[in-house]
């Protein structure tokens, strides 16, 4: 599902004396269907960078990154857009939305392109309920929510579709025990469906519970 071969990444800061910052060299990684691989390493080791490269957000300097059949290191923008739309989901730590779109629509949006609107909204309602976002907040924009609430909206948005590849960046950070349990169950359900997952978990217990393997970055 996800295959990285000899991936290297450097940042060249042209406006700061053309400083070249190497982030990783020759990283290879394979994640099969139903597998969850955790990325480990000190901060700055390149965990997030690697996730962003798989997402197509950062450009690989060399190597190939094949995700559900698409080499994102070489793909055209529209191929990456199609991949994100149809086959890959990313739960980041940050929620980036237009301020006036209500939470229910923010969550339902990734599914809207595939099923009738009402069906997508129904799925969003059920996920928001499961993640204990009070119904009175559904009509409001999530931009005003607390960190934990925003985190759960992000998770709901990520899990609304069933996709072959998921990227999870600290999905359980800033969650209480009950919600943390819900998220871990969601991850386990996704694995059971055959989703290949790459995740960053600082929460060691969670990591041990859902990850099949760990990759040490910066080593």
């Amino acid at each position: 599902m996800i295959e990285l071969r000899n991936v290297s990444k450097t940042f060249t800061l042209h406006n700061q004396g053309s400083a070249v910052i190497p982030v990783m060299t020759d990283v290879s990684l394979f994640v099969g269907a139903g597998e969850c691989v955790g990325l480990k390493g000190a901060s700055g080791a390149g965990k997030s960078t690697l996730m962003r490269m798989i997402w197509g957000n950062y450009l690989a300097a060399s190597g190939s990154i094949t995700v559900a059949g698409t080499d994102v290191a070489r793909a055209e923008p529209r191929e990456i857009i199609a991949l994100r739309r149809e086959r890959m989901a990313y739960v980041s730590q940050f929620l980036r939305v237009v301020p006036r779109v209500p939470t229910l629509e923010v969550v339902a949006e990734p599914l809207m392109a595939f099923v009738p609107e009402e069906e997508a909204l129904e799925a969003a309602r059920s996920l928001l309920t499961r993640l204990r976002i009070p119904e009175r907040l559904w009509g409001l924009s999530p931009t005003t929510f607390s960190g934990g609430e925003q985190q759960r909206v992000n998770i709901a948005r990520g899990f609304i579709r069933q996709v072959p590849v998921m990227l999870l960046d600290e999905p359980t950070a800033s969650l209480d025990a009950a919600n943390r349990e819900t998220v871990l169950t969601l991850i386990e359900e996704a694995k059971a469906r055959g989703t290949a997952i790459v995740g960053i978990f600082h929460d060691e217990e969670a990591r041990d519970r859902v990850c099949d393997r760990l990759i040490e970055m910066g080593a």
């Binding site: 406006n15 962003r52 950062y58 450009l59 923008p77 529209r78 857009i81 237009v98 006036r100």
Partner: protein, 251 residues
């Protein structure tokens, strides 16, 4: 699937000065492309060359298998009121200020032969609502509208005939930030729902992040970098793009 628009080697010079040079790209159905760069980078020149508002010195713009730059004026105008649309930065350039909102929206319909007043009126009302203008303002003139409303009216006027490709020149320029956000959200929704392809020229990186799938960065008439919007903004490769991205003040 084939590209909706194929741009090949567009070049425009003003005497010895370069307007834009060697610009090529494909735009696919449903794709939104942003063109960013500072004033004088050639982005507006490029847009007006693509839209046929000014002649190019070199290059081709292929749409539906034909080079649009070689069309006769009559054919180009027909294209401009059917499959293509152009949203100007200043609504005054894109609206008829002496004609009511309904007449502004209805003009394109009438230009393509609609002759039923009731239908024109109903369509205009529907479109005013889609751009969040109350239908009871249908007989008011654009002068009586705020800047943001005028811009939304211009968008309705352009989209009423269901174009396939929309050119936008700084569509949010000159608007208050709060008004901008509303307009952007509206545009985003319309683009998605209608499956529009669009080329948006702006110097506002927030606008392209929200609206554009792809990004093209211009400097001195040249394309210095292009790619997926969030990739170009988050991992810029060219010195100029890095400067552009790092120059945005964080709020």
């Amino acid at each position: 699937m084939t590209p909706l628009l194929q741009v090949r080697g567009i070049e425009k010079r003003y005497g010895g000065r370069i307007g834009c040079i060697d610009v090529s790209f494909d735009l696919w159905p449903g794709e939104v492309m942003g063109i960013v760069g500072e004033s004088g980078s050639g982005k507006s020149t490029l847009l007006s060359c693509l839209a046929g508002h000014q002649p190019s010195d070199k290059g081709e713009v292929i749409f539906h298998g034909r080079d649009v730059l070689k069309l006769s004026e009559a054919e180009r105008r027909r294209l401009g009121r059917t499959d293509w649309a152009f949203v100007h930065q200043n609504p005054r350039d894109g609206l008829r200020m002496n004609v009511s909102a309904g007449g502004n929206v209805g003009e394109r319909l009438m230009a393509v032969g609609e002759r039923h007043y009731g239908n024109i009126r109903d369509t205009a009302e529907d479109w005013l609502q889609r751009v969040e203008i109350n239908a009871d303002r249908i007989d008011d003139r654009p002068r009586q509208f705020s800047g943001g409303m005028q811009q939304r009216l211009q968008i309705a006027r352009n989209l009423v005939t269901g174009p396939k490709l929309v050119f936008m020149d700084e569509p949010t320029g000159g608007l208050d930030v709060s008004v901008q956000a509303r307009l952007l959200d509206l545009l985003r929704g319309l683009v998605r729902r209608m499956g529009l392809s669009a080329i948006i020229v702006t110097h506002d990186l927030a606008v392209v992040r929200l609206l554009a799938d792809r990004l093209m960065v211009m400097k001195g008439g040249h394309v210095v970098e292009q790619g997926l919007t969030d990739q170009v903004l988050d991992d810029p490769q060219h010195a100029y793009t890095q400067l552009l991205v790092s120059s945005v003040l964080q709020v």
